[in-house]
Structures are given as structure tokens and as C-alpha cells.
Amino acid sequence: MIEVKDVHKTFGENHVLRGISAQFHPGKNNLIIGGSGSGKTTLLKCIVGLHEPTKGEIFYNGENFTTMNFEERVPIRKEIGMLFQNSALFDSMTVEENIMFPLNLFTDQTRAEKLDRANFCLERVNLKGKNKLFPSELSGGMKKRVGIARAISMQPKYLFVDEPNSGLDPKTSILIDELIAELTEEYQITTVVVTHDMNSVMGIGDHIIFLHNGQKWWEGSNKEIAHTDNQELNDFVFASKFMQAAKEKL
């Protein structure tokens, strides 16, 4: 479990996060949603250690991550997989080499074992046989799936996903969402997804945190979100005509 306690983050005069506390449980798709500039990605980067919180603490299974130095964080980081908004695949490496990269650095497996694991991960994301392609030869959806394959190659306990649907068509977005949900349930991973895609919210949002002006404004599940009387959340969720129409049918 990941626990965030009273996290603040400022960049100069800009107070981006204003005392956020939350818990993210294993085996659940934890979604962080909110409008642009609400602090979603900043919160995610604080949780994974790419940003240091100005104030507050982050715990991984009870261990205080914020007070650890780089070396102390390495064992936890080996249990983290992350899919970036732009996939962040290593350009100079093939798909296979991207997936094998953490295995090369952190395991003593033989090349055959690493190759088996890479093939398994590729098969899991429906990209069997794409081993020798370079990231520049992949479509946006394929890059995301390779990113997921790389993220699960070390069998992570925690999976972080930043805007998994950005730049993807609706069909591919749903495929990516389903893949994330399947992996979360299958391996009982603590998954944290940052998104503002309402299809994802309604499709896989087991546990949702809504951020507004750097604060936690609402918390609940996708079943509860349609019936909330929280004005800011309603404005966000039902901003599109499609969602308004869907609400009227509810």
C-alpha cells in the first residue's frame, strides 16, 4: 500500500500541491483525476520520487520514502514500474532491449532467461514478434504497450501510469485501460493512474481521487462519481455534451 500524508509542493511562488493525503491499495486501479494544472502529475512525480515534496510524507508499505536517500530508495524503485505520457522508451534500443534493460542491470539471469521474460511481457501486451523494432517504427498505441511491457518486466508491486490515453484513438485507449486493469488484478499490483479521460474513469476507476487547485476535492469510486453533489467534480466530469447526455439517462 502507498500512503501520502499532507503533501505540499511549491515551485518558487507557485503552490501546486496543498496538503494532499490519500491511500492507494493493492489490486485496485487508483485514479488521480482533475483539470489541467490541478497538480495530478506533480503528485505522481512526488510519489515516485522524481520531485521531492516541500512538506509531507510518502510511505511504501509503511516505509517512509521521503526520508530515504538514493541508495535506500533503490530496493523500492526495483518494485516500481512506470508508464510515461510519451512512453519514454529508449530511442537507441530495440523493443526487446528496452524490456530487457532493467533485467540486465538488476538481475543475474542468463540471456535466454531475460529473452524469455521479454517475450512473455510482449505477448502479455499483444506485441508478440515485435522484438527487433525500434521505438521510431512503432505507433503511439504500440509504444504505450511496450512501455507497459517494460514496466512489468521486473514484476513490480507498484505501477504508475501518467496519462495512458493521451494521443490515442478511443478504441486503443480502451485496450490500454483494459490491459492496465487486467495486470492490476492479475498480479495484485498497486496501480496509480493519472488521467483526465472520462472513459478511463468510468471504465477502470476502482478508487478515484479528484484534485482541484492542488487539493483533494473528492474521493470515491466510479459508481459514486455520477451521483456526487460536488460542484467542481460535476463541472469536470460532465463538461462534455456526451457525458451530460449520459447523466440524463442515469
Partner: protein, 243 residues
Amino acid sequence: MFHSFGRYLLLLKLSFKKPEKFSVYWAEVMREMVSVGIGSLGIICIISVFIGAVAVIQVAFQLSSPLVPKSIAGSIARDSTILEFSPTISALVLAGRVGSSIASQIGTMRVTEQIDALEIMGVNAPGYLISPKVIAGLLMFPMLNIVSILLGLLGGYVACAASNDIPTSQYIYGLRDAFNSITLQTSIVKSIVFGFIITSVCAYQGFYTSGGALEVGQSATKGVVYSCIAVLFADLVITRMLL
């Protein structure tokens, strides 16, 4: 300026921490050595031959007195090539070729979140990205310098053979006359220091890039400019100390 210098030193300290796995880093060092060394051989060969030839022609033009032995042109060209033309001019050219490539490569990795991906995996990103490039620079710049010296002297020979100003026998006599090995030692020291400066300064500029494609270009430009200035300053200091 002091803030940047402090950050540069801290980055270097991080870059030379114990690697996660030696074999992976070793493979990276080999790859960078090929990129820096073999990749730069063509441009070094071309500029060295021409600089050597021009140096001999200019010395011959300036020492046209019948009281000065013609072999002196070979001696002057040799010392100029060994001490200055090969290490310094090669370094300035390599700053443009190798330095800009390092800064833009690392800068692109920064803005496309590839460095964040490394850090999240628990990889020491400065160590993985910067140390192999610096080690490759330290090893390959002296080798390129030796190649440059040999080709510069060969260029001088070709210039003598192509004109009748200095007989080739006089030129070769001049090359061998009163050779002091301290010039070669100084040249090697210079190339090692220049290799370190160019790779580390450009890697620093790339590593702290923020923004997008425009900033990557700016980082590459800054890396080349700052490393060229640092090379010239180091040239002065080393020359003063060793000669």
C-alpha cells in the same frame, strides 16, 4: 556561475559512483569509444593533413632568409603541430562534433522523460549516461591526437614534396633535429584534459536541459561554446605549467 560550477562538480561526483552492474557500463564505454574515436577519425584526418601542410608553407615563407637553414621549417612545424595544432585545434573541432552530439543526446533524453525512466528504475542516471562518455573522451582524445600529429607531419611532407621551397630531406632532418619529448608529453596531457572538459561540460549542459526541442538546441550550443572557452583556458594553464 558559482552555482553552476558547484552543480557541475556534484554531477561529476554522481557520475563516478559505483555502477549497478559493471558489464552493462563496460558495454556502454565500448560503444562510446567507437562513437567518439572511430566516428571522429575522418574529420581529424582531413583537418590534420591540411593544417600540417599549411604550417610548413607558412613557416617556409617567413624564414626565406639564406642565413636560416631550411630544415628549421621542419622543426618549427613539428613543435607547432605537436604542441598546439593537433591537441587544441582538434579539440575545438571535436567540441563541435562530439560535444554537441553528447549535449543534444542527453538533452533529448531529458525532455522526452527517458532520464526520468532511468531514475524510476533505480538506475544512477548520471553514472549510466555520463561516465561512459567521459571515460571514452579520456581514452580516445589522446589517440586521436597522436593520429592528428602523424597526419599533420605527413601533410607537411606532402607540402614540401609538392613545392620546391623546402627539400623533403631537409624537412625530415628538421623533424628529427633536437626533438624534445616533453613536447609530446605536454600534447598528450593536453588532449586528456581537453577530452575530459568537452565530454563533461557538454554532458552537464545536456543533463540539465528543461523544456523542449528549442532548449535541446540551446544546450548543445552552450555546451560547445563553454567547452571551447574552457579548452582554451586549460591550454594556457597546461602550457604555462609544463613548458
